[in-house]
């Protein structure tokens, strides 16, 4: 099926999210849709899928103009969408999730699960997407959940598949499996739209590339007729900044000292972990997610009690202090989950920008907050961090993912604390924002702050860190000097092939 979007415009109040975009999607083609956060990619696809109603413009399927009253219309006409945030029922089984809203019914409206099962067996054979249908979705890994989402779309016999940042949460192996599946769809003549931030993936799999910026379509051409540089320039609207030059390391005093720290965890405790972090250096913690990084961070920030060992921040032991006391003691924290931990989505941008500052004299008058001063401060953050939002009074939920992250990063870094803990700070953020956040972290380092960077993105850790600690199975498997780090060497430690990585040295000896 061929789709033509013609002069589509979508407005949210005064904001024009998609501005007069025309785009063709061909069957048997993988069409990559790129752009910065807030460029309008997801909104355009939501319009195609019937989740938002365009203010003007037409959607044509095989030449026929269509208007959707609801996503059900779009689904009935062969469109399927895998959302960035999965739309699954965790309490239900895989089978129940797949049939939900498209149930094959027998007598009296009871669901014919046997029929669904045999259909899914067929699909598993043709496309190689197989998963135990009776497992509860709440117990599945992220990659398996995505497979459920894809099965949902296939089960509805979709001819057009829209995937919104499908690889953001996948391990490299899961990504390879997904791409194999997508190629099989292409063979089958389906049209695939891939919304993504990752240029390497686009170069690997796409047939056609379209780039959006600020709601407009700025480029659309076959992959063969463009280049990685050209696409990148299209996304940011100009040349990419030159590679950053790093100042020589001049570490100062020890800011953070972690000594034989252990944290309780289901199964096996995390730790003992020991390391030091000095002023003016970035220490990266690499590792496949789930190897104890999350527990370590929660223990450092005070979100989880410590089982044993000590944490010393600027000379004071803090392992018994609560979160607030630790933050007062000189710690800032950029959490991985901006939606739940980083921001209060229903509060305004201004309130979020000032969260944790209700004790600062400039923003309070006795027990009352000074809204004017808060808004002014928020405005300065919006300007400095180039956050795209209607204004300080807008609800935080109106920002796109990358802009939310910029707000969190801005709020935390502008506290100017000796220690900054950054947890996957560029997760799901576009390249322009990644570059900006990386630059800010480097600037903080050069200004003499100590930065603990915990990331599952290996390239990010290698690019920024002065030293890299690799976590495996709840402990530090080894330490690599930033200058000598390579993907292979760190990667080997991440999968615990410590001997390969360190030669004769025993794991942890360097720590």
């Amino acid at each position: 099926m061929r789709i033509d979007l013609q002069d589509v415009t979508v407005r949210f109040g005064p904001v024009t999210a998609v501005d007069n975009v025309s785009l063709g999607i061909e069957p048997g083609e993988i069409h990559a849709l790129l752009g910065e956060n807030g460029a309008g990619k997801s909104t355009l696809m939501n319009a195609l899928f019937g989740l938002v109603t365009p203010a003007s413009g037409t959607i044509r399927l095989d030449g026929k103009a269509r208007r959707w009253a609801s996503p059900q219309d779009a689904i009935a006409h062969g469109l399927g969408m895998v959302h960035q945030h999965f739309m699954l029922q965790e309490e239900m089984t895989v089978l129940e999730n797949i049939v939900l809203c498209a149930e094959p019914v027998g007598r009296f409206g009871f669901v014919d699960f046997a029929r669904a099962r045999s259909r899914l067996d067929e699909i598993a054979k043709t496309h190689g997407v197989a998963i135990d249908l009776d497992r509860r979705v709440g117990r599945l890994s992220v990659g398996e959940r995505q497979a459920v989402e894809i099965l949902k779309v296939l089960y509805r016999e979709a001819e057009v598949l829209i995937l919104d940042e499908p690889t953001a949460v996948l391990t490299p192996q899961e990504k390879d499996r997904l791409f194999a599946t997508l190629k099989s769809f292409r063979e089958a003549g389906k049209a695939i739209v891939l919304i993504t931030h990752k240029l390497d993936e686009v170069m690997e799999i796409a047939d056609r590339v379209s780039v959006m910026r600020a709601g407009r379509l700025v480029a659309s051409s076959p992959l063969a007729e463009t280049s990685k540089d050209e696409i990148a320039r299209g996304i940011v609207g100009g040349d990419l900044p030159a590679a950053r030059t790093r100042k020589a390391l001049s570490p100062g005093e020890t800011v953070l000292a972690v000594d034989h720290l252990t944290v309780a965890r289901r199964g096996r405790d995390v730790g003992p972990v020991s390391f030091d972090l000095r002023a003016g250096e970035i220490v990266g913690i690499a590792g496949v997610s789930g190897n104890g990084q999350a527990e370590l961070i929660r223990a450092l920030t005070g979100l989880e009690p410590v089982r044993s060992g000590s944490i010393t921040l600027c000379g004071n032991e803090i392992q018994k202090l609560d979160v607030e006391a630790r933050r007062q003691g000189g710690m800032s924290y950029i959490p991985e989950d901006r939606q739940r931990m980083g921001l209060a989505l229903r509060a305004s941008v201004s309130e979020n920008a000032n969260a944790g500052r209700d004790d600062a004299g400039a923003f309070t008058a006795g027990p009352f907050l000074k809204h004017g001063a808060m808004a002014q401060y928020a405005r300065s953050l919006i300007e400095r961090y180039r956050i795209r939002v209607a204004g300080p009074r807008a609800s935080a939920s109106t920002m796109s993912g990358g802009n939310k992250q910029k707000l969190v990063v801005g709020r935390e870094l502008s506290r100017n604390t000796p220690l900054v803990i950054a947890e996957n700070p560029t997760w799901g953020v576009d390249i322009g924002a990644i570059d900006f956040i990386h630059g800010e972290l480097m600037r903080m380092r050069d200004a003499g702050h100590a930065i603990l960077l915990v990331s599952t993105e290996l390239d990010e850790v290698i690019a920024l860190s002065d030293r890299i600690l690799v976590m495996y199975d709840g402990a530090i498997a080894g330490e690599v000097d930033g200058g000598e780090a390579s993907r292979d060497r760190v990667g080997a430690l991440m999968t615990s092939r410590a001997a390969d990585a360190l030669g004769a040295a025993s794991p942890g000896a360097a720590a």
Binding site: S70, E90, V105, R266
Partner: protein
């Protein structure tokens, strides 16, 4: 006291007390699973009880009475849905309003229609006759409990396995569960969670209406102001304890109904009525504490 419990007429009286609690709780369970926090079951029961008397008095048959009660309950479900689901009013506020409305409205109509205050009793109110089950009535112990009860009891009993299968395997059951767990995902699939919640509320109204009919035209043949007497609240507790699963709900309702029945009978022992009235709530409290203690212990066991 033991003589009281061993008395076969005590056992035979349990279903009368279980039925209204069970039916209201099953209705509440549908709301709970659909993501509607309905704590207006007390009001639903009371309106059902009044409407049953109304229907039975004017038609002369208990079936029309029960039907009237169910329709009245469904209408109240629509009112709940209008303010909570459609207009987005807070569910606790809407529940409280409906509970107060039910008390006021039944008192008002009691005077407006029957021209009495406090209670209305008349030989023309047609009550349910006991249904004797052949063969089963001779089974020792269970016979007198299962046989000789009124129609709503049997319908309540059948509703338990039916709702269990309905929630597990019916299209609407699946969607009700989805509306309660992740309505966003249901919407993305093209089904309006609000519509599903509306249907759950209407079904809840019908079940509660039938429960009310048990109170006023099966247990007795009269309507007394506020005759639901807290049974709707006990049903709310049962729903929350079991997270709306029909089978556990059945057993909790059984327990609460038995204590309710017992409290009624121990009044004959010369205990203060204020104390006996307290018994069902005391039992509720004990079950609440015991269950949360057990859950906490199990959670700790998992973690180690």
């Amino acid at each position: 006291m033991f003589e009281l419990i061993a008395d076969p007429s005590f056992a035979a009286s349990i279903p009368r007390f279980v039925t209204p609690i069970l039916l209201a709780a099953l209705g509440g369970a549908l709301c709970e699973r659909a993501g509607v926090f309905n704590i207006a079951l007390e009001g639903f029961l009371l309106v059902g009880a009044f409407a049953a008397v109304l229907g039975a008095y004017f038609s002369g048959t208990p079936y029309i009475g029960a039907l009237t009660a169910m329709v009245a309950g469904m209408a109240l479900g629509l009112v709940f849905a209008e303010f909570n689901v459609r207009r987005g009013g807070d569910s606790i506020v809407v529940s409280i309003a409906i509970n107060l409305l039910a008390a006021g409205l039944t008192t008002f109509f009691l005077r407006a229609i029957f021209d009495v205050t406090g209670a209305f009793s008349d030989p023309a109110i047609a009550g349910f006759a006991p249904i004797r089950l052949p063969f089963i009535e001779y089974v020792p112990l269970l016979g007198p409990i299962l046989s000789g009860q009124a129609l709503p009891f049997y319908l309540a009993l059948l509703s338990v396995p039916f709702l269990h299968v309905f929630l597990a395997r019916h299209r609407l059951g699946l969607r009700i569960r989805a509306a309660g767990e992740n309505p966003q995902a249901l919407r993305a699939g093209g089904v309006s969670p609000k519509r599903v919640q509306l249907l759950a509320l209407i079904a809840c109204g019908a079940l509660c209406g039938l429960g009310g009919a048990q109170l006023s035209i099966a247990n007795v043949n009269l309507f007394v102001e506020n005759m639901s007497a807290g049974r709707g609240w006990i049903a709310v507790v049962a729903v929350l304890l079991t997270r709306g699963r029909p089978w556990p709900l059945f057993f909790i309702a059984l327990l609460f109904g038995a204590v309710d029945s017992l409290s009624f009978r121990v009044q004959g022992l010369g205990l203060a009525q204020q104390f006996t009235d307290m018994m069902p709530y005391l039992a509720t409290l004990i079950v609440l504490v015991a269950l949360s203690w057990w859950r906490a212990r199990r959670a700790r066991g998992d973690a180690s």
